[in-house]
Symmetry: none
DNA sequence: GCCCTTACTGTACCTTCGTACAATGGTTTT
DNA sequence: AAAACCATTGTACGAAGGTACAGTAAGGGC
């Protein structure tokens, strides 16, 4: 699927350059302090600074992608990237007008996914953020829905259970007790899971399950 | 990207059958009143009924895709479809746990786009709905998160470095090499960190640092 | 000078994790 | 019926994680 749109990455430092280029080989890097217009960009990826008024930064970048017209702005969508995504930060970014908020270290495939979504007028945000949004409007917590699930695609029912438990910080022993099986069986499920998901240990599995890599 | 996931459409009447089949040739149609489990489905598309408790319907379908465990559900994502989408209706559906809300008459390409997004743990919703959500939370958002963002407060500089590395999935050995110290020292920092943050191991530390507990 | 904190290191020991090489019984698919 | 997959368990062993009980060295404050 050829991404013909221009992807412009706005950042001060560029530790993620390679990651972004992996997702969009023709990506263009821009300085945050530049004032050049970005109307021709397809998507503006804004690497959020560690400190300062996030909202203001987002809005400034948004302006650079705008074609002012009658107070309306058929502007270029801005996706906020953060090294350490936090729901609060995401909220600020979205409120300021961002069309998406995700981890700058996200896998290339994920970034491409985000690009497609955003480009079609959609909005991309993590499950937990949305839950939070929905929850606040409702005064009730739908405590029920966790995060991503494509990781579970190749796993069996039992393997998913164990993986979920691990991702919550449970030990093999605890999981075994909870499921009423032996620790050995838990290990068996885990070994199979590691193999299927190409992760080396429970820590990496946790990161994967929780959508942080 | 071959869509190997099973797309199950839950509906009473099926005026949209052809539209869905155009998007997913191997789609499977299910009755709303059926009680069969749908754990193996990749995505459950729920055609919302015109009347009744939308939220309850969504939750019932969600349950059919769940693997109950620890109150968590590595469940099959449910996308609510409506013939005439309204923001309020979408809100109810999402609040009930749906991963998406869109027009059932949407073009096949759009449906496929929605599928991809949802499958990767994303959430699909229209711009206006999102705007509404963000706007509503704008007034009451600040007090929203009790999650400790100050996990690093009591840690020394070195301990923070190690904790961050651990939270990225690094092993003690890797951290030692990166920091140019011995593995033993890494352990020392970690032991101190566990003690200060009241966590028992690196996994729990990771969850804490990444704001998931 | 003395105390405290921080960073660093060593040896030893125990626990937990993960894998290798198995096996059994059940269900589903072919 | 055979093949394939799944859940389960066993023994054994090396690797990694974590703790106990030390010590050295540098810097700041009283």
């Amino acid at each position: 699927m050829p991404t013909s749109t221009r992807n412009v990455f706005v950042t001060e430092d560029e530790p993620l350059r390679s990651n972004w280029l992996a997702a969009f080989p023709d990506a263009q890097l821009e300085s945050l302090s530049a004032s050049k217009h970005l109307r021709k960009a397809g998507i503006i990826w804004l690497r959020l600074p560690y400190e300062g008024d996030i909202g203001a930064v987002v809005q400034r970048i948004l302006k650079r992608g705008q074609t002012p017209f009658w107070g309306l702005s058929p502007s270029v969508p801005v996706v906020a990237l953060s090294d350490e995504p936090r729901d609060e930060e995401g909220l600020v970014a979205l409120r300021a007008g961002a069309s998406g908020y995700c981890n700058g270290y996200a896998a290339p495939e994920v970034l491409q996914q985000v690009a497609q979504t955003v480009q079609q007028g959609g909005v991309w945000l993590g499950q937990s953020l949305l839950q939070k949004l929905v929850a606040t409007t409702a005064q009730q917590a739908p405590r029920d829905v966790p995060v991503s699930r494509d990781w579970a695609a190749s796993l069996t029912e039992r393997e998913i259970m164990v993986a979920q438990a691990v991702a919550l910080g449970a030990s093999n022993k605890e999981i075994a007790e909870r499921l009423g099986i032996t620790e050995r069986t838990v290990k068996a499920h885990l070994t199979a899971t590691f193999e299927k998901l190409h992760v080396r240990d429970r820590l990496q599995l946790t990161l994967l399950v929780n959508g942080m890599r």
